[in-house]
Amino acid sequence: MMKNSATMKRFVKRFRGMHRGVLLLTLLLSAFGLVMQYSAAGGDFSVFARPQAIRLGLGLVLMLVLAVLPPAALFRSAYVIYGLCVGLLVLVELVGFMGLGAQRWVGVGAFSLQPSELMKIGIILALARYFQHFKPDHTNHFIALIIPAILTLIPVALILAQPNLGTATIVSVIAFCICFMAGIRGWFFAGALGAVVAAVPVAYHFLHDYQKQRVKTFLNPDTDPLGAGYNIIQSKIAIGSGGFTGKGLLHGSQGQLDFLPEKQTDFIFTMMGEELGFMGAVALMVMYVLLIGFAMRLAARARSTFGRLLAAGVASLLFIHIFINMAMVMGMIPVVGVPLPFLSYGGSFLLTTLMACGIVQHVYISREQTAPTRGIS
């Protein structure tokens, strides 16, 4: 009883130690997401916003759990979580063999979950944990370097097999960022980069037709304005026509009249840009910058390598999603199915995003700790 109450006190202490500003930012962004989902359904709360709100509730609970979790507990379960994620990916693959076509979901009770989304958290945890015991003289050691490569390639290969090029790319980039922040030598990256460049033509050969078409469309969207280039053109028209102040919530003609496909998911920024204009888009970007900036500051200042790399991983996760999504809908890169944190409709990615926020809070609370392995403080 005494022990339980002491544990309870520690949890409460950690809970109180959360960064209020970042918590507020998280809630603001989540609320903003619900408003956009309300608009995406043409002013109907029940279509997208309500299911999203339920997932948001679940995600916030997960976030708090991760935030207040003792560092040792998170550290110790890192590989377990990673292993669970890989296991789920394998499971999806097996179910996919039995069903037909691309299989990305597994049923969890009433929800269906995309393990590839959770994998983004899994890879951050696993790599951060690995580099915690990484000694500086290992940075040139080939065997020591091959392990993070393997940790990355297993899930990436499984996700590619789904096939889901977008998520596989993102997991790779997150892993790359963590390795970079862990201090791995330049020549190793040069080698990896060379391998990627060499793999591009081969990979292109293995791309699905629709993916090849997306690349071609990006290179010249006007050749077939009603076909593959339609999304990009309509998206640019929508954002551009928003102007400085936007057309007002629920009044974006492009979005409300269905000229934007996937407006509640990948093209949510387009709808927002049309309805809330430059002001809305910049406000959103400022919130993102604050959140990523906070994670980056932790990545530089946390006392343990585990903490620093966790923060760096989360920063890279948020950054890469935001960049790819916005660049895509604004016609700067080919159409890739990458959601926008907090705004896009979809449960798994919302959970991932909020878990990432939980991890940032966790690192913030335990920022003064040098070794996460040593017991519970």
Binding site: I237, A238, G243, F244, L257, A281, A299, A312, S316, M332
Partner: protein
């Protein structure tokens, strides 16, 4: 090391963020206006509004062709499942047949988003009410209002008025400058007045700007410019007379044209049997069309302008005038008819086998003596006959403009050579004298001929529009006393003691009429004097009568043909008598409400 890398990583992120911001600025500020225009273009689509078609009326304002609202039940097939569900409910509600259900299901499967599928049209009030009541359950069904052309007098004026129909693909191509032609519901004139005055009747298209979604389905109306209705088109026709003519002809196959002899205003233009143009404007049903085509009385043909028949004895005035003009004959020239005539060795019989005896020209017209006019033609030749025919408008179109109008034939050596039929045979001149042989005329042409015969020689032309300036008319090149002689002959045909149509005389002195009978052979007589009622209908003679009234100061003329009626005196003259009597009565009694209408 770590910090340095964090700075690099942060730097990359800052650069990327700046790139995004720049792009946003580029899209929303540099090209903002451009994209605003494009978004507006996406959102709004112009839809043309079909203008209401001009109303066609008779000379007293009675509507002959008007527009009714066509209530149509349509389903918007954007969502297939909903369309199917709605169709299922409609089966019970509307009692759709199995065949209809199949057609509609196919249409739903092959649907194009944004294009509604028509379930039923021309809904009754009862049906509209039933659908409106159940509308909440019929998610994607709507009632839409179109127009359809209604002809209240159905088949009484169908040839004259024509009908409207969908624009055919070739017509769309021919009229690329008229965007209205591409509107799916657009109907244009296909025949008769509807075709001839299409431009006046059509009106000017309106337009509405609709907000549409990405699928092209209209969401709401943004702006509207109403259409301009087509001009009302009052005709010279007196509908009461038109109706009377139809009834008087009854079951016969034939035509009647009634005309004002001075102005050329056509008071009635009737061809029977006819068709119901309402069926055509609703979208013609195949079996109806087939039955029309199979009818041997050719209801689809406007016999008044397209029917070409030998004029028979109605042509004798022309022959007589040509003789008078030549100077070889005068009012007192007497010729003895013994019932036959020889050109060389070739005999030509008079219709009266026993012969008419000695007669002058007026008597020859009254009794329609063939031998008299054989003699005239032999002495003046075919060219003189042909020239006189043309003076009276034969062998050419009247300029009325209705589609299908034929020019007839005025035979001459030149015409025969051109037709590839070889040299002229003198015997043909003799046949031409009594309107047989190759001569062909339409009922309209004979009405024009009669008008010029009795109006003092003005070259009147027929016309159909009420408020149209009189055309400048020339005069026929004949001395007035010759025309008077012909008029006296025609007077005697009906009112003389020996007149061929004396049985049809009108007793009321103010309404007395004159005219000329005619009988044109369909097949060469096998047995002279055979009773026409004893041979098959399609081999009987056509019966003609051309007439005018009143005899004192003619203002109305008419021509009547009764196909295979037997003889002019027996079949056509009684019709002409009744029509001319009616026309005069109606002329004296405009419709009761007419003056009120004009005052209002």
């Amino acid at each position: 090391m770590l910090t340095r890398r964090a700075v690099i990583f942060g730097g990359v992120q800052a650069a990327a963020g700046f790139a995004l911001l720049s792009r946003l600025y580029y899209l929303q500020f540099v090209h903002g206006e451009e994209f605003k225009l494009q978004a507006e273009g996406n959102r709004a689509k112009m839809q043309l509004i079909i203008p209401p078609r001009g109303i066609i009326s008779d000379r007293y304002g009675t509507a002959l062709a008007m527009n009714h609202v066509n209530y149509r039940l349509v389903i918007e097939p954007d969502v297939k499942a909903k369309a199917r569900e709605t169709l299922k409910r409609l089966i019970v509600l509307m009692g759709l047949s199995e065949k209809e259900v199949k057609t509609l299901s196919d249409a739903i499967n092959r649907r194009k988003v944004g294009i509604p599928i028509l379930v039923r049209e021309h809904l009754s009030w009862d049906e509209v009410a039933r659908i409106q009541y159940n509308l909440p359950e019929l998610s994607v069904a709507t009632i839409d209002e179109g127009q359809w052309r209604h002809y209240p007098f159905a088949d009484h004026s169908s040839h004259l008025l024509g009908y409207v129909g969908k624009v055919s693909p070739t017509e769309v191509k021919a009229k690329t400058d008229q965007p209205l032609m591409k509107v799916p519901d657009m109907k244009i004139g296909k025949n008769g007045i509807e075709l001839l005055y299409e431009e006046k009747l059509q009106g000017k298209a309106g337009a509405k700007q609709m907000e549409v979604n990405a699928a092209g389905s209209p969401i709401r109306e943004l702006d509207r410019k109403p259409p301009t209705a087509g001009d009302p088109l009052p005709l010279t026709i007196d509908n009461r007379l038109q109706e009377y003519c139809v009834e008087r002809l009854g079951e016969e196959s034939g035509a009647v044209v009634v005309m004002n002899v001075h102005t050329g205003e056509v008071l009635a233009l009737v061809s029977v049997p006819a068709f119901d143009p309402n069926e055509f404007s609703k979208g013609i049903r195949n079996n109806y069309y087939e039955s029309l085509k199979a009818n041997k009385k050719v209801p689809l043909m406007n016999k008044a302008i397209s029917g070409q028949y030998p004029p028979g004895s109605t042509f004798k005035m022309v022959t007589g005038l040509a003789g008078l003009k030549s100077g070889k004959f005068n009012a007192n020239t007497r010729i003895y008819c013994n019932g036959g005539f020889y050109l060389g060795n070739h005999p030509f019989g008079c219709w009266k086998r026993e012969g008419h005896g000695s007669m002058n020209m007026q008597q020859a017209i009254e009794q329609s003596c063939d031998v008299y006019f054989y003699t005239v033609a032999r002495d003046i030749g075919i060219e003189a006959l042909a020239a006189m025919s043309r003076e009276f408008g034969l062998g050419e179109k009247s300029g009325l403009g209705l589609s299908g109008e034929r020019a007839g034939i005025v035979p001459s050596p030149a015409w025969k050579l051109k037709a590839g039929r070889g040299g002229w045979n003198p015997g043909e001149t003799i046949n031409s004298a009594i309107g047989q042989g190759d001569t062909l005329t339409t009922p309209l042409q004979l009405a024009v001929m009669t008008a010029r015969m009795v109006n003092g020689g003005k070259k009147v032309l027929p016309r159909l529009l009420l408020h149209e300036d009189d055309k400048l008319m020339g005069e026929v090149d004949i001395a007035p006393e010759f025309l008077a002689l012909m008029r006296n002959g025609m007077h005697d045909v009906v009112n003389g003691t020996h007149g061929t149509a004396r049985g049809s005389k009108i007793e009321q002195e103010d309404y007395m009429f004159g005219g000329k009978t005619g009988t044109s052979q369909v097949r060469k007589l096998l047995i002279p004097g055979q009773d026409q009622s004893k041979i098959p209908w399609e081999f009987r003679h056509h019966a003609w009568f051309v007439g005018y009234a009143p005899v004192g100061d003619p203002n109305i003329c008419c021509s009547v043909i009764v196909e295979h009626g037997g003889g002019g005196a027996s079949a056509a003259a009684p019709v002409a008598r009744d029509v001319l009597l009616k026309a005069q009565e109606l002329r004296a009694n405009p419709p009761l409400n007419f003056s009120e209408k004009m005052g209002a």
